[in-house]
Structure formats: structure tokens, C-alpha cells
């Protein structure tokens, strides 16, 4: 549990699609513990390489965790200085009503509240309806003139939420999707220190996943790894959810299987878990997944793709909840997989 403090800093920092800069700084300083070879690409993906050791050809394994969070963008400054917003990523507008937010202005961050009409003033049929995003507005509690001088159309809005520790090393807050996976990579690199591994590990904090796996598309092309493993959160169980979208918190990482996943990468990951007595859960998918892995698999001539992640509840809200123990276990599975990986095995990934 070496990186708990880093995770908390990551969760409380702000960075939506296309403005991941402040988050990237925290990731970079944490990665410096493991390597000095760190770069950024055109889209802003942070790429940290930990080299392997081998006299022969070294396999190149890319681990990717997207660091962007879902966010909003100012689309109009309305009468009275109230801000109208558009989505960059998929919020359920019902979770936004009454939410405290941070508006990233020209010169500084402003505190705002997403307003709601008091129930006293609503007609009975109005009370039965959920307001669409178009009807919501952000109140900065400033005169219109001042709002117009400080805020421009296109400025970003993120959720305001401090991390809350819950029982059993569970944490709740915003952007566990997907900064818990950044912590997975850090825990993986930590666990990997005790091994002489052949593989080069390319640790990526990717950008713009929430608007269509854009960072993964270019970093996969630019790095051209032999294996790419996306690390992303999945759904924890809740009443009323289908059985195959209900993973358990605290029961270890979900390892994905399906058309998007290389069958032998799945096999090697699950065997790494079994061999080291780490609990894992089987996550099934029937087509391209909503993760960086969707892009990796068909980048260039194709990349052997894997997908792992921890289960969280209340995804895409400000109270996402997950377990740090799952993060550690997920990191360990990845480390054990990487420690075993040889060039011969990677070559075998193309033999069907």
C-alpha cells in the first residue's frame, strides 16, 4: 500500500479530457521513483519506461491507465452570469443537481454550485421529471459582469469532492474511474522491483479516454508495443444489476476475456494470479470494450491486448467507491505477468 497518499492526491486533483496537465504532474513525480525516462506525446499521454534486462530481444509491454476524468465545459454564459455546460464524458445529469463544482477560469479556479429549483416552486408533474443537462446551470455567486470577465466559453468544469476513507481500506470520491488504475500501475512497478524482468515496461497515464479512447489511439501507434494492457475500472455489484456486470469489491481484480482480449494474454494473466494465490474475477465481454484496449488491439498491425481493473460502485459520480487492497492485488498480478514474460512467449502470441 505504498501509493495510498499519491492516490488521494490524484483523486482530489482536477483534469478532464484535454486538460490533464495537473494530474500528469502528480503521476510524473510518482513515476520518478521507478525511472527517469519519462516523456509526453502530442496528445499529452505521459509515458514512463522501465527497461528490462535481457541479452536477447526484450518484449515491450505497455500498461495504460487513463488519467482523465469526466468533466463539463462552459457552452454559454447566460443572463445573470449563470453558466450553461456541455459534457466531455458521460455524466448522468441526475447526479449533478446540487453538486459542488470547480470552474477552471482564465486566471484561477472558481467554486460553483449546480443549481436546482426548490421543490416548493415546482409543479407536481415537474417533480416527477429529471432535468436534462440543458436545463442545469452553474451558479458562481458573482455578478454577470464579473463572470464574463473571468470565465470564457470553453472553460472546463470538474466536480469538487474530497476523498473519504470508508471501512476496510475502501475509498470514496470522484475520479476513482480511473485514477485507481494509475495507482495499480504504481503498485505494479513497486512489486516489480524485486524481479529481474526481461520485458521493457512502458507505463502510460493516457488522456481523453472518456471522449473516445483518443489518447490510447495515438500512444499505441507511437509506442508500438508487443503487448498492451489497459487498466480500467469495472462495475461492482448493486441490486438490480445483471450478474455479468456485478463484480465484488475486495475480491481481487477483474481479468477480462472476450473478442477484444488476446486469449493467451488472458490465459497468462489469470495463471499469474492463480500461481501467486491472488483472487481474481472473470470479466466477460462480447465485442470492443469501452477502454483503451479497444484502440490498442487494432493499432498498426495489431497489438496483443489485455484488460484488468478493479470493481467500483457508483461509476461516473462524485462518490465512486473501491478498495485499495484490490489495487495492490491488481498491481501484483501485472507484476507477476511481466516478470514471466519472454520474447519467445510474445512471438507465440501470433501463432494460432
Amino acid at each position: 500500500m505504498k501509493h495510498v497518499d499519491t492516490l488521494i492526491r490524484l483523486l482530489e486533483e482536477h483534469g478532464g479530457p484535454g486538460f490533464e496537465e495537473e494530474v500528469a504532474k502528480i503521476v510524473e513525480s510518482a513515476m520518478r521513483t521507478y525511472t527517469s525516462k519519462i516523456e509526453r506525446d502530442t496528445l499529452g499521454n505521459l509515458i514512463a519506461t522501465v527497461e528490462g534486462q535481457s541479452s536477447g530481444r526484450r518484449p515491450r509491454v505497455l500498461l495504460s491507465a487513463h488519467m482523465d476524468e469526466i468533466a463539463l465545459m462552459v457552452s454559454l454564459i447566460d443572463k445573470g452570469g449563470f453558466l450553461r455546460v456541455a459534457q466531455t464524458g458521460g455524466f448522468d445529469p441526475r447526479t449533478l443537481v446540487g453538486q459542488e463544482v470547480v470552474v477552471h477560469g482564465k486566471n484561477k479556479r472558481w467554486h460553483g454550485i449546480i443549481g436546482s429549483k426548490p421543490p416548493h416552486l415546482q409543479a407536481p408533474d415537474e417533480q416527477k421529471k429529471a432535468a436534462p443537462l440543458e436545463d442545469l446551470f452553474i451558479d458562481l455567486a458573482m455578478p454577470e459582469e464579473r463572470v464574463r470577465s473571468e470565465i470564457r466559453v470553453g472553460d472546463r468544469v470538474t466536480l469538487h469532492r474530497s476523498v473519504m476513507p470508508l471501512l476496510h481500506h475502501h475509498y470514496s470520491g470522484k475520479s476513482l474511474d480511473n485514477r485507481t488504475s494509475v495507482a495499480v500501475i504504481l503498485e505494479c512497478l513497486e512489486a516489480l522491483k524485486k524481479y529481474h524482468h526481461q520485458a521493457d515496461v512502458i507505463a502510460v497515464a493516457s488522456v481523453q479516454e472518456e471522449v473516445g479512447v483518443r489518447g490510447a489511439t495515438t500512444v499505441g501507434y507511437g509506442q508500438a508495443p508487443d503487448v498492451a494492457i489497459a487498466i480500467d475500472v469495472t462495475f461492482a455489484d448493486m441490486p438490480g444489476q445483471a450478474s455479468d456486470f456485478s463484480y465484488k469489491i475486495g475480491k481481487g481484480p477483474a481479468i477480462a476475456k472476450g473478442p477484444n482480449i488476446h486469449p493467451k494474454v488472458f490465459q497468462d494473466l489469470s495463471e499469474a494470479a492463480k500461481a501467486n494465490n491472488i483472487d481474481y474475477q472473470l470479466e466477460l465481454s462480447q465485442g470492443p470494450t469501452g477502454t483503451d484496449g479497444r484502440a490498442f488491439q487494432i493499432t498498426r498491425e495489431g497489438i496483443a491486448t489485455g484488460l484488468v481493473g478493479i470493481a467500483i460502485r457508483y461509476m461516473h459520480t462524485s462518490v465512486e467507491t473501491g478498495s485499495y487492497q484490490d489495487i495492490v492485488d491488481c498491481g501484483k498480478v501485472l507484476a507477476e505477468y511481466i516478470a514471466q514474460l519472454t520474447w519467445e512467449r510474445v512471438e507465440d502470441y501470433s501463432c494460432y
Binding site: 450478474s243 455479468d244 473478442p259 477484444n260 472473470l282 462480447q286 470492443p288 487494432i298 495489431g302 501470433s350
Partner: protein, 341 residues
């Protein structure tokens, strides 16, 4: 019988092992160089050192299917679709599951027990189960695991007048055309690709086209045919028995007009029947190949398939033969230097 062998083999997207092995055994010949890539695409190449245009011919070997995702306490299996399946065609259809090919049937509540308004409602995924005869969850798990895949149990058979029925003519009919083409020895720089994962987003062809950098590409497809009673002429995507279909436009391509006209001229020259694919919906692997790298000239040759994506599909064997003649004629014309880009 090639079409029987190919259509009866199993191969939902991402799970193409069986069909790939069947195809590989058909094209393993001294004039072919064969390899697979990391996605599982099967490449069959001839004359890669020859001058002249590099031609890629694609047929996808995957088919739509089902994946078992959960076993209920009573031993019934819950499943989800791989690729585009209309759940309304599933009720009362038999399937085969997994490598061991266990039989199962997709059941539903008997009509006697349904309320009148229920009978008019299509059944959704949540109301459908596969029954393998298991007495309990443990019993079912002894032969089937979550993650196993299933396909329709339909067998190949000839019927009517020069027609045939089977599952997965989409796109085993294209695979059969490509197998027959690669069994011949050409004087062309030719790459046959049996692609994976077309049904879940043209994924195999995307990577294959990037690798090959072809100058010309032709996708061989089984395409939608709806020439049945009640369909007006301009809504009939294709018509059974009128020959292979050439694309006007589809969901992903406005194919290069010059190449389409070259294919039409070739069909006319060799007296091969052909038709246009008249609708805009749907797509095939050429949609991905066209946009690979700097772009690729080409198009698709499609065999009309009635009831595509349903358990029992129909093709005309005359259309199949005409499609093979057209592909052969086009390759011959290119081989003799009569295509100028």
C-alpha cells in the same frame, strides 16, 4: 463439399479457431505462403516478390454467435450476443456450445401460459435462456463455463432450385470464394486474408490492411438480400439469383467509382450476371480497408444472402458460381495489365 465444411464450422468473432483450421487445411498448398497475425487473421500469399499491384482479397471468417455469461441455479444458461443478432429470431432455435459442441435449445414460456398482450411483445435478452438439459448449476458447470461461445446448430443443405441453406453464409460464402481462388496459382502479387472480428467492427481487416499496404483490395461478402413478398423493388437490397452484387454506397464506403466501373465492365466482357447492392445500410471489411494508411482503391463483391444473421440463411448456388467467375475474371484482367489506377 466446401460450402458445407465452411458453414458448419464454428467461429464467432474472437473465437475463430475451428473455422481457421478448416480453412488452413484447404489452402495449405506449395504455392501459398501462410501465416497468422496477433489478432488471428489468416494470411495466404502468392508471389510477394513480383512487380505490379499488390492485391488484397478479404473474406471474414468470423460469424455472429452467443456467449454464455452466467449459469442459473437451475442449470439454465444466460447469454449475450456476439455481433448483431436480433433476439426475435432466437426463440426455439437449437445451438451448439463450446469446443465440445454440447447441444442446447433456446426456450421460452409456452404460448398457453402467456397473456394475450405478452404474445405480441418480442422477447428480450433477459427472457431467453439456453437449456442443455442440466439439472443444476453444478451439473451445467461440469460441461459449460461462462465465456464459452455458441452458434446456431443449423446444417448445410441444398434446397429448391439451385439454392442452399445453412448458418453463417455471412461470410463463409466469401471464405469459400477466397479458398477456391487461393487454391489456384496466380501470376499476381496476391494476399488472401481470412479476417477475424468483422462482426464486431471490422477489426481484423483494419490491422490486416495496415500490415499489407495493398494497392487494390476486394472484400468478398455475404450481403443482405430482401427480395421477398411485399418488398418494393427499390428497397430490395439485392435479389437472389441475379448474380453478385456491387456496392453503390454503404454505411462506411462510397467506393471508388472507377474501380466499380472496372468490375462492371469485366462482368459484361465475360458475360457474368451482376447487380447493384441498392441499400445504404450495413458495411463490410472494405469499409476499414479503404481508409487504411493513405487509402486503398477497391470495392466489394457480395453474394446475396436471404435472412442474413438469422439461424437459417439461403443463397443461390448460381450466384456463388457467378461471383467466383467475376472474381476470377477481375484477377485475370489485372494480371494482364488491364487495370489502370
Amino acid at each position: 463439399m466446401l460450402l458445407k465444411k465452411l458453414t458448419e464450422a464454428m467461429g464467432p468473432s474472437g473465437y475463430e479457431n475451428e473455422i481457421r483450421n478448416v480453412i488452413r487445411s484447404e489452402v495449405t498448398l506449395s504455392h501459398n505462403h501462410i501465416f497468422t497475425d496477433v489478432l488471428g487473421n489468416l494470411f495466404v500469399q502468392q508471389n510477394q516478390d513480383t512487380q505490379g499491384p499488390h492485391i488484397m482479397i478479404d473474406a471474414h471468417m468470423d460469424e455472429i454467435g452467443l456467449m454464455i455469461v452466467h449459469v442459473e441455479e437451475n442449470g439454465l444458461l444466460r447469454f449475450r450476443p456476439i455481433g448483431g443478432i436480433d433476439p426475435r429470431v432466437l426463440v426455439s432455435k437449437p445451438v451448439v456450445i463450446g469446443d465440445s459442441k454440447h447441444f442446447g435449445v433456446i426456450g421460452s414460456k409456452p404460448i398457453h401460459l402467456q397473456k394475450p398482450e405478452e404474445r405480441r411483445q418480442p422477447l428480450g435478452w433477459d427472457q431467453l435462456y439456453i437449456d442443455i438439459g442440466a439439472s443444476s448449476k453444478e451439473d451445467a458447470l461440469s460441461v459449460v463455463q461462462p465465456g464459452d461461445v455458441a452458434v446456431f446448430a443449423t446444417t448445410y443443405g441444398e434446397m429448391g432450385e439451385r439454392a442452399a441453406k445453412a448458418k453463417s453464409f455471412d461470410d463463409r460464402v466469401g471464405c469459400a470464394l477466397l479458398v477456391e481462388t487461393m487454391q489456384k496459382e496466380w501470376q499476381l502479387r496476391l494476399s488472401g486474408v481470412f479476417a477475424v472480428q468483422e462482426e464486431v467492427g471490422l477489426r481484423g481487416a483494419t490491422a490486416a490492411a495496415y500490415r499489407l499496404k495493398p494497392d487494390i483490395a476486394i472484400a468478398l461478402e455475404g450481403t443482405v438480400c430482401f427480395d421477398v413478398v411485399d418488398a418494393p423493388a427499390h428497397n430490395q437490397a439485392t435479389q437472389l439469383g441475379k448474380g453478385p452484387a456491387l456496392t453503390l454506397q454503404d454505411g462506411l464506403t462510397l467506393p471508388d467509382r472507377r474501380f466499380t466501373e472496372f468490375m462492371i465492365a469485366t462482368a459484361e466482357k465475360y458475360n457474368i450476371p451482376w447487380q447493384y447492392r441498392r441499400v445504404k445500410g450495413g458495411s463490410n471489411d472494405y469499409g476499414a480497408i479503404q481508409k487504411a494508411r493513405e487509402g486503398v482503391i477497391g470495392g466489394a463483391i457480395s453474394v446475396p444472402v436471404r435472412y442474413i444473421h438469422a439461424p437459417a440463411q439461403i443463397i443461390s448456388l448460381e450466384d456463388y458460381q457467378a461471383a467466383l467467375q467475376l472474381l476470377t475474371a477481375i484477377l485475370t484482367e489485372i494480371q494482364e495489365g488491364r487495370w489502370h489506377s
